[in-house]
Amino acid sequence: MNSHPFLSAQIAPLAPADAVVTLSGVRRRFNDTVALDGISLSVRKGEILGIIGRSGAGKSTLIRCLNGLERPDSGEITIEGKRIDGLPERQLQPLRRRIGMIFQHFNLLSAKTVEANVALPLKIEGLPKAERMARARDLLELVGLSDKAKAYPAQLSGGQKQRVGIARALAARPALLLSDEATSALDPETTRSILALLKDINRKLGLTIILITHEMDVVRSIADRVAVIDAGRIVETGTVQSVFANPQAPITQRLLEGSRPRLPEHVAARLNPAGEAIILGVDLSGPYGQSRFFTDLADALSAGASLIQGGVEHIQDESVGRFFLSLPARDANLVERVRSTLQAGGAHVEVLGHV
């Protein structure tokens, strides 16, 4: 349950032909703490991968390995077909120009104007001043900050600073964008606008984005795929819809707890192996048509089941739902019928216990 055999660290997943990033068996330890314990992962061109985990799970180390700011002790890291693990600093520098990065605390240079910040990667690349300033202006327009070109970062709000950070990360036309908790220091509304901007850039430029976060909402609103990291291992990966609808790893379930319907405390506390009522957890996603599900649910309710808690929510353009039903345990027929009907429709049904 904890980890699928095909996700285990020892077996590298087959990298798809269009993979921009491939990691296999990446390990990194600091003194006696293991930060990365055999990470294997691949990211396709143009996709947004969300890597989620609690603080200390190894996500920062992982993202820093992708542009060589951190070196793995062992394992392979390939970016655009080139092995980058073990490369000396001097050879990493030109490769890093292909990888943009945005940060939780923005990391803008306070002594430079907004446009000079955005143009800096191009200055490093050796572009003439007129060209890099023209590109900086274009990028500031893209992120909606044309009027702030001459301002200094300290004069901007958090959201504006992150927009500058994004413009700067895109300056050198990278193939890959790394986002290190880019919205964690922002309020919910600003977070939404920054995420919308990232999604927009992903669509417009076909840019591959890897973002690490501890917030499920971030992953839910823009990622195509999610990888859950815990104690230096990837414990679960999949499309956002499938992972959210039916989380397998306990850590994923815990991370999701805040954002989805759950069994009320007073019911959960009374769960036992042999009570009068049987409690079912129902997860639905994807192909299970909502109208069909609610028809089946209505049938179950009229036959004697009762609804404890539940709801349907949207993950990007798909809906997922989670419901808790209570059924009389003595009516084994009814329990079996409800279960099989819902399961036949594609829902995932689980007996949580009795009360």
Binding site: N67, L69, R90, I99, M101, N107, L109, A111, I124, A172
Partner: protein, 221 residues
Amino acid sequence: MSDVMIDLLISAVWETLLMTFAAGLISLVAGLPLGLALVATGKGGLSENIWVNRLLGAVINAFRSVPFIILLVALIPLTRLIVGTALGTWAAIVPLAIAATPYYARIAEVSLREVDKGLIEAVRAMGGNRWTIIREVLVPEALPGIVAGFTVTLVTLIGASAMAGAIGAGGLGDLAIRYGYQRFETGVMIAVVIVLIILVCGIQWIGDRIVERLDHRQSRG
């Protein structure tokens, strides 16, 4: 005060300013790279090298712990080698600069060390090398502190230059000792003190204004 005294005062001001700014400039040019070297070779620095760091730190500490009046005398052979004489205003610049350089190196080190590590990481992530980091991050971000530290060094040099009177360097301190103190000319003493106060306030004021213009770390309206 007689016209002669006023002439003496004016040339003393000139000598003090010459010593202060010449030694100050040398300490800036030599001290800033030393400060950078201290930060770069320090723990977690750009070119971490603990042994070089310790050696550098020990040499700087050694120079800083020698009282200036002793340094002044001890450096006479070196001064003679560089300037050709061990006496006079220009000769005083050598020991003043040598005393001010390690002092300023430490001040610069503090400002450079306070630069946010995240900024260095951001520039590394965009493919910058060490020189880029020094040129685009460390020095510009620390510049307000570097300039403020330079102001402090200049003010300290004004005080130290008074001692250089011991090797016939002239300047305001020398004037105050020889005329004001040894010849009991209280008027000269008071005039010198007033001029010194004006000089120190002036340098500090100019330094503060420059720092204000350079510092964009906080928003000001």
